[in-house]
Symmetry: C2
Subunit: 425 residues, 2 copies
């Protein structure tokens, strides 16, 4: 059946739901080039304003999955379970969580992306390890899941290829921030990846792209519905992203901090969140285990080392910060009432840890070490941040960007929890 | 100053007004190719949903005018005044009005477009006259305005060229029906055309693209504000477009009916509306005249003949309807309670009088003659419409399309006025 792109755009623009046939036609026609980029971007903007009903979104996501190949993990001897985070500053949880959950007996197929803007990408972080490679074939992924239990690698071009084009289009047309479009983008890739279960870490706060708990709930329940509708057991954990997670923000800096946590140490917030997500994941696939013990006895770290080695990386490599260093000190005494994750994330980006365009390179060693957390007491002149950069230009633009990241007050703020609500079907 | 297209799209998407600098940048960048079609279509869709404030729209329209050349009519010895209609079925008013107002002493520079969809285009109608050509140079336009007083021709490519691209883009991206975008498109061309005064015939009803009086008021006052803001004395007349205007719908059929009116005869609704608009136009430029007399004494027809001759047309050519004819008859007796202008317009289009794509040809002789009007009494078997087409395929698809155009009831409907409200600054 043939439809007209203009009729479909107009239907959505006027607020009516699209039929399954209309959605199938428009995505197929876009894939083969019969619907132009300017027509698709107008449709995406209309979806931004009008939203999609549950049934529409399910069909839209189905067609994105069917636009490419799907990974078949059914032959694995371990149950598969994955995690997706909507992105935060200092969010290195995947690096710890994948080997930790694998050390408990699950297979974790973490197909990831690169960072853009103020939040870092998991692949960028791992690429600071010499020799490590992000690109694996489907057979290599399955093999590593069977032998090591965890794989973090690049999502191949064959997985939901229409999503790749839509994502690039949304990026240049101001249509990123739409709950149905975000949900279908994330979930199409996770469903195509073949995982049996999925935990979603939906970040909310200053440093996240979702700023309010209401919107986080809406995104979380939309994604949970999509996952469950496709037979993937899905739970969403809403977590706070007002201040950075842990102390390290930047690629190699975050790998080092992840190793600390994998060896039983590291910042308590990182450990707490990792363990909470691990428990949800293990629960989803019915594995009874004690993930704390796996961190403390080195089992998780052992899997991490195997995972790095399997992808060509040297687990014994010493990752050093970038050579230029600047310490930001407190200009007042008192309690740290806030550390703005967005400001810190932008500063790390300016220092060289992130990229503005997807073809830009990133610096391995650049970034920010946060020496204080909300509620800490500081005196004038005490260090707040260490900034690392490869050259003076990046250092000075990071120094400029970090200004105002910390607010110091007279009263100790109430402690704010990281774990907020859990959303299930 | 440099802006980012994504920031501008996002600003409008979130409902904030665009600054003059942002509007200037985005239209300039679009014109030179630095803002892509898919970015502009997303912005247009955001404008559809969010609208534009008066100041934004004035700047947007200014930039469209400045994107090309403007016609300078200040050297003419006659005051210039033009009319624009938002488009209706059987709307041949321009063909009569331009020579009529010129016969009263004004210069009427009517730069027009072609028809698309169910409403016909003025140029298409005149092209049914052998030899008549729509393309004139700016010098030819000025010369003809001085000597004949009226010119109906194609708007040159140099006039508001960004509007030409935006219009084509809106046509394929479902962003036509936006009051600020419609207003800026119409007004940028009319202002660039150099007219001193302008009357807008804003059609409202079943056969118009504006269906409600509220929306017609909004469009009219937006355009009046734009015109007055640019120093063009502008008045809008809201007129009913529920049933076709006059009896003839189709290119040559409408030229013949226009000649009837120009010779003092023709359908009373066409005469009434033409005279009402003529009075507003003459009033705007301060000419005291009696347009009825100019119709009745042949003066207006004389100017029409000169106007056609000046553009190579033969004013004595006999324009015949297309050779195949079918008469639609009443299947019930009673009063005609409605003649649906949209249905009749679509039928004329299917018969060959209109086009679906701008490169399609149109038939000169195809169309519909409406033999009844609302309020008429008919008996079973009496003729309602004559359909004309060049071949059987068009005839049968017109016969199919005309079904249900007339509703016959037991009671005589109340007479509905054509002239609704007048909107001034």
């Amino acid at each position: 059946m043939t439809f007209s792109a203009v009729d479909i755009i107009t239907t959505k623009r006027e607020g009516a739901p699209l039929s399954d046939e209309q959605i199938t036609w428009v995505l197929d026609a876009y894939q083969r080039g019969d619907v132009a980029e300017e027509q698709m971007s107008a449709l995406l903007m209309a979806i931004f304003f009008r939203g999609m009903l549950g049934g529409e979104l399910r069909t839209w996501t189905d067609r994105m999955i069917e636009s490419g190949e799907a990974l078949d993990l059914r032959s694995l001897s371990r149950p598969s379970v994955d995690k997706h985070s909507t992105g935060g500053v200092g969010d290195k949880i995947s690096l710890i969580l994948a080997p930790l959950v694998a050390s408990c007996g699950a297979a974790v197929p973490q197909l990831s992306g690169r960072g853009l803007g103020h939040t870092g990408g998991t692949l960028d972080k791992l690429e600071s390890i010499p020799g490590w490679r992000a690109a694996l074939s489907n057979d290599e992924i399955r093999e590593q899941l069977e032998t090591v239990g965890a794989v973090i690698c690049a999502a191949g071009a064959g997985l939901a290829p229409v999503d790749r084009r839509l994502y690039a289009l949304r990026d240049v047309t101001g249509t990123v921030e739409s709950i149905p479009l975000i949900s279908s983008s994330i979930m199409s890739k996770k469903i195509a990846e073949g995982t049996r279960a999925l935990v979603l870490d939906v970040k909310v706060g200053r440093g996240a792209f979702i700023k309010t708990i209401e919107r986080a709930r809406e995104l979380a329940s939309t994604m949970v519905d999509l996952g469950e509708g496709h037979g993937v057991a899905t739970v969403a954990q809403l977590t706070a992203m007002d201040q950075p997670l842990g102390r390290a923000v930047g690629n190699a800096l975050e790998v080092n901090e992840s190793v600390d946590v994998l060896r039983g140490g590291g910042p308590s917030d990182v450990r707490e969140l990792t363990l909470a997500l691990a428990r949800v994941m293990l629960d989803l696939v019915g594995i009874e285990a004690h993930p704390e013990a796996m961190l403390d006895d080195g089992s998780a770290y052992g899997v991490f080392r195997s995972m790095i080695s399997a992808q060509g990386g040297d687990p014994d490599a010493v990752l050093t910060p970038a050579p230029l260093r600047h310490v930001v000190t407190a200009d007042a005494s008192g309690f740290v009432s806030s550390v703005d994750a967005l400001v810190v994330g932008v500063a790390a980006w300016r220092l060289g840890a992130g990229r503005a365009r997807k073809e830009d390179p990133v610096s391995a060693g650049a970034g920010v070490m946060c020496l204080v957390r909300e509620g800490d007491h500081v005196a004038v002149g005490e260090p707040l941040f260490e900034l690392y950069a490869d050259d003076d230009q990046h250092l000075s633009s990071g120094r400029e960007a970090i200004r105002g990241a910390v607010i110091i007050g007279d009263e100790r703020p109430l402690p704010a929890p990281i774990l907020l609500e859990k959303i299930t079907k």
